[in-house]
Symmetry: C2
Amino acid sequence: MDWDVIKSKLDTLLAQGRHSQLRGALMMLNPVDIAGYMKELDAEKLLLVFRVLPKDMSAEVFSYMDSDQREMLVGSIGDAEITALISEMFVDDAVDFLEELPANAVKRVLQNTDPKMRGIINQFLQYPENSAGSLMTIEYCDFTPDMNVSDALKNIKETGVDKETVYTLYLVDKQRKLLGTIPLHKVLVAASDTMLTQLVDPGIISVNTLDDQEVVADTVRKYHMLSIPVVDGEGRLVGIITSDDIMDVIEEENTEDFEKMSGLAPAEESYFKTGLLRLAANRLPWLLILMFTSIISGAIIARYESVLAINILLSASIPMLMDSGGNCGQQASTLMIRGLALGEIKFRDLPRVLWTEIRVGLIIGVVMSGVTLVRLLLLNGAALDLALVISASLFATVVLAKSIGCTLPLIAQRVGLDPALAASPLITTLVDASSLFIFFNIASKYIL
Amino acid sequence: MDWDVIKSKLDTLLAQGRHSQLRGALMMLNPVDIAGYMKELDAEKLLLVFRVLPKDMSAEVFSYMDSDQREMLVGSIGDAEITALISEMFVDDAVDFLEELPANAVKRVLQNTDPKMRGIINQFLQYPENSAGSLMTIEYCDFTPDMNVSDALKNIKETGVDKETVYTLYLVDKQRKLLGTIPLHKVLVAASDTMLTQLVDPGIISVNTLDDQEVVADTVRKYHMLSIPVVDGEGRLVGIITSDDIMDVIEEENTEDFEKMSGLAPAEESYFKTGLLRLAANRLPWLLILMFTSIISGAIIARYESVLAINILLSASIPMLMDSGGNCGQQASTLMIRGLALGEIKFRDLPRVLWTEIRVGLIIGVVMSGVTLVRLLLLNGAALDLALVISASLFATVVLAKSIGCTLPLIAQRVGLDPALAASPLITTLVDASSLFIFFNIASKYIL
């Protein structure tokens, strides 16, 4: 059925106040789509639809709602209802939600939850932002080495109802130290008296609570995992992170790289949720820095005023030199930043990368300066020495831009800076200034 | 244990020819790590380690190996061994591998596989590249509506051994039409006489064989799925795609966007695997296009030569104007391209986005031109009219750049072009030319 049809049916049921039919209709939908439908409702209708939802669905729908929709909802329901909601949610979703609430609201809500849940949530709220600890959930099944397959299946049946994932079994000892992992499908196809220890996967792949989410995403991706166990400093299992949350992390990290490469401070919220002043504030720092560095290029132009006066083609070539240099540098730096992010390029590859980029630069330089030489001679009717000076400058600019573009990100990574942040916006400035410098030096030597 | 220690132990066992111990040691490792270890071996040792691997691991390790390692291996083993390998691999991995082989080798290999497998592989090889069909696997469990929980578990036990994922049960009718999906954990916790039809999730989320991988990734991410069913034109279940493959798709799509935004043709292979000429060829088209468009900016400079002659500060301001315009435009376009990719911004938001960007541009423009005005007056001792002309041009450039930067990607998307490709590299050129045009017009009006 078409989404617009579904929406209009829900709208009708809602408008006519046929609540039990509305509940029935909602039960046919995916919780993500219900949250999507609720996005466009006003506060009153939002509350109504939310209360019509079956209890076991409302917590899941709530976890897919936008933060301002949640805020609206929280404003209209009482503390008791919020507390009930939180106890129905997975711990990671509940923590996400509490992090959005004002501090006094969090305190009020937590006072009403049971002490065990309160303890867990408080602990979770203390993990650094974007750490494995802040991402993990505690809804997983753990098992001990003395269990066999039929024990394990019984255990899942008894406790597995509200587990976010039961698809990997975690084997722990009495101190909760993680001994190994077992994919559920191995358990399902094994004879019922098989000991779990016989089914354990070779090697334990896990992350630490304090590991950055980027490390978590890289590990999950590398080992093709559905979920990854999180251990504390003593190797004890404290939680798991599931692959659906990892996908969000991957997109978040990519967005951050895109933003940094364009000289934007990483945004906390999506575009439309960010205020005007914040949008401006995220952009201004780099714009101001780059504005000041571009004054260097301006100063170089000013210094060589007399050279520019020789022929108007020299001034007219400045945009071409600056743009081509910037583009060449950005191409090389993008490949490096991506290669670093995906683990395909490391700092120790610098000599190899530099050698590759210099040769690529030579090829590209020959083509671009060749085309430019022909253009200047034939189309602009330039004198040979003038055309040669401009083409040679372009050639040098291309090779230099490729070299700078590949080197800076690797060095940035090496000294602990973010390659996307440190390298990209600066490369243009650096290449601009050096290409103008080369240009004027060649020009003043061979034309004057 | 440290990876270097593991590696040196394996090296020792390999060098001393202690094959059964080597096999034992390898069995303790994750297949991904074994493939990582084999990456650094020469052809002879590679073959040896590969043959030492237990049969059930070798196909999995093979699917994690690099394409040139695979090629090396395929060169040293016979057709019979390759055929055996393929029949052990998951269909999607086997197809991936076959797509790398030369056509005559594929034919030879397929002749030896059993007719059913051959038929499936041939069908898979025909799906368009990057379509859902080319990504999917057929290793899944399907069930019929007449089954109850204990039937289902028995079915999994009998057939589930080599299923890539059994974590979602697919309910199909006699025509294999997909009726619904059931998460395995619901089956595990239900009473054994519960009918599967009672456990079905509301709504069916699926993709079509011909859907692009970007659609697949977006859907899986939106609905937080571990795997997604793939149906043909008649709604019949033909395969599934698992979330670990989706993560690779997400990174691939992001890499493509990064490349396009930097004017690079998307690379087929990673940096070091791409030849020098290909690296150059991927970069040249946009460099040449942008080089030619920058001639427009040059022509504008040439046309207003007489204006530049008035004061050297005018020429010196060109890099600042061009760079600031380019940076402002890129910031806005990056936010749009990301918003479009993540589904947060749509074409219908254009008026809202444009209005936001104009206001952000006004704020940023005031700050940047204010700073510039003060700098010109105090540091450069410029005359007031000159300083005002440069600042006003900067102000107009910023607002214009923000407007162009947010508009072009949305329009590109609307007319079916890739926003990352069509918008990004062109914006700089467009902004350059218009900012120079504004600059010279203001200057010639108010200073001459």
